[in-house]
């Protein structure tokens, strides 16, 4: 499965919705994520991608769109 599809899978699990936001659509502006849901999203990404995301990276800016999440995870790999 491609990274964006895996990110979307985590997002759908966290939101409980079968949504397919655009790669550059703000997940916060669209209301899909808030600060509580972002914490779950980050935990889900850690599990799905086998990475550890430090607290210092807990910024909405880094996880605002699927493209940004993909770039972030690519840099972590």
């Amino acid at each position: 499965m491609e990274p964006q599809a895996r990110i979307l899978k985590v997002l759908q699990k966290v939101t409980g919705k079968e949504i397919t936001p655009g790669a550059d659509e703000s997940l916060f502006v669209s209301g899909l994520l808030d600060s509580f849901a972002l914490t779950d999203f980050v935990s889900g990404l850690e599990e799905e991608f086998g990475v550890s995301i430090p607290d210092s990276d807990l910024s909405a800016r880094k996880f605002d769109t699927i493209s940004k999440v993909e770039s972030y995870l690519k840099a972590k790999a």
């Binding site: 600060s35 509580f36 914490t39 980050v42 607290d55 210092s56 807990l58």
Partner: protein, 309 residues
């Protein structure tokens, strides 16, 4: 050894409802309740100071303990909203208690200050004897009641709490604690030039990871399962955050005492106000572990474990 002997509190009589706040910050009462779990908070009067309300909580605590101020070996006062930075309210509270030589120290850490105070008191009690920990805040003077200040103005209230930590006697023994500081994110929560600044989403993200981690570390190293804990007493920051922490710790939500609906977030006072209310509602002796946890400016956070005697 160090024991929790008694708690005390004082809340200003003036109730400020969501209905009163909402139009000032361009929000609705329902939205405030939804995002915070807060229905109303208390505001101090113009005559009140952090020291004066801290003194009232201190007296309440000493009265509940059946102790006198002269028995105290030390006073620790947590506040992030003190009227005067240096010296802070500790020396004024000591003076108000009639003490002229008992050491009285300030802990200027919003939200997490009382937890730090309890932890230090537990370590100091073997030599100091009885340590009075106070958290006192007048946060209403540090927030802006306008649309720009919406995200903080809706949360905060005023009040004071106190705890007496005693080297010899009490209803629960302080068994362990852990404190942490991460200054790399200090700019998400601070007071400068008399104004409180908070990046709410960032604070929520950090707190919802750090507090469960601290609680789990404490429970794990003491061989205690979350379900064995009789009560969790947390800094009353946001009801949704407390629910979040309960889920992350995998402990029953009803074990987490809350009073944020009535008092809002009283910063460092909230942990001790919650403890005072929880303790006054107990009809039987403590039968299981008690866990305290807080998160605040610094960032500072941690947890404290107390066990039945």
């Amino acid at each position: 050894m160090a024991y929790l002997r008694a708690f005390g509190s004082w809340l200003p009589p003036r109730r400020v409802t969501n209905q009163e706040i909402a139009p000032l910050v361009d929000a609705t009462p329902e939205w405030i309740l939804e995002v915070s779990g807060i229905e109303e908070r208390r505001y101090a009067s113009d005559q009140d100071t952090v020291a004066s309300i801290g003194l009232l909580a201190a007296r309440d605590c000493l009265e509940k303990a059946g102790a006198t101020a002269a028995e105290l070996g030390m006073i620790l006062v947590a506040s992030g909203s003190s009227d005067r930075f240096c010296p802070g309210p500790a020396s004024q509270i000591a003076a108000g208690l009639g003490l002229a030589s008992t050491p009285a120290l300030d802990i200027p850490v919003a939200s997490a200050g009382s937890l730090i105070g309890l932890t230090l008191a537990a370590q100091l009690a073997p030599t100091a004897g009885r340590v009075l920990v106070i958290g006192a805040e007048i946060m209403s003077r540090r927030v802006a009641l306008n649309p720009e200040g919406k995200n903080t103005a809706i949360l905060f209230g005023d009040g004071a709490g106190a705890a007496l930590v005693d080297a010899e006697t009490g209803f629960a023994r302080i068994a362990d604690s852990c404190l942490f500081t991460d200054g790399t994110a200090a700019d998400i929560l601070f007071v400068r030039d008399g104004h409180f600044h908070m990046d709410g989403p960032a604070v929520i993200m950090h707190a919802s990871r750090k507090m469960p981690r601290a609680i789990n570390e404490l429970l794990t190293r003491n061989g205690i399962a979350p379900g064995e804990v009789e009560a969790f007493l947390l800094h009353q920051a946001n009801l949704n955050l407390i629910t979040r922490v309960a889920a992350a710790v995998k402990a029953p939500r009803e074990r987490f005492f809350t009073n944020i609906a009535r008092y809002g977030n009283t910063s460092s006072a909230s942990l001790l106000i919650a403890a005072a209310e929880w303790h006054s509602g107990q009809t039987a002796a403590l039968a299981g572990p008690l866990v305290f946890s807080a998160f605040g400016a610094g960032l500072n956070w941690g947890a404290l474990l107390a066990l039945p005697r």
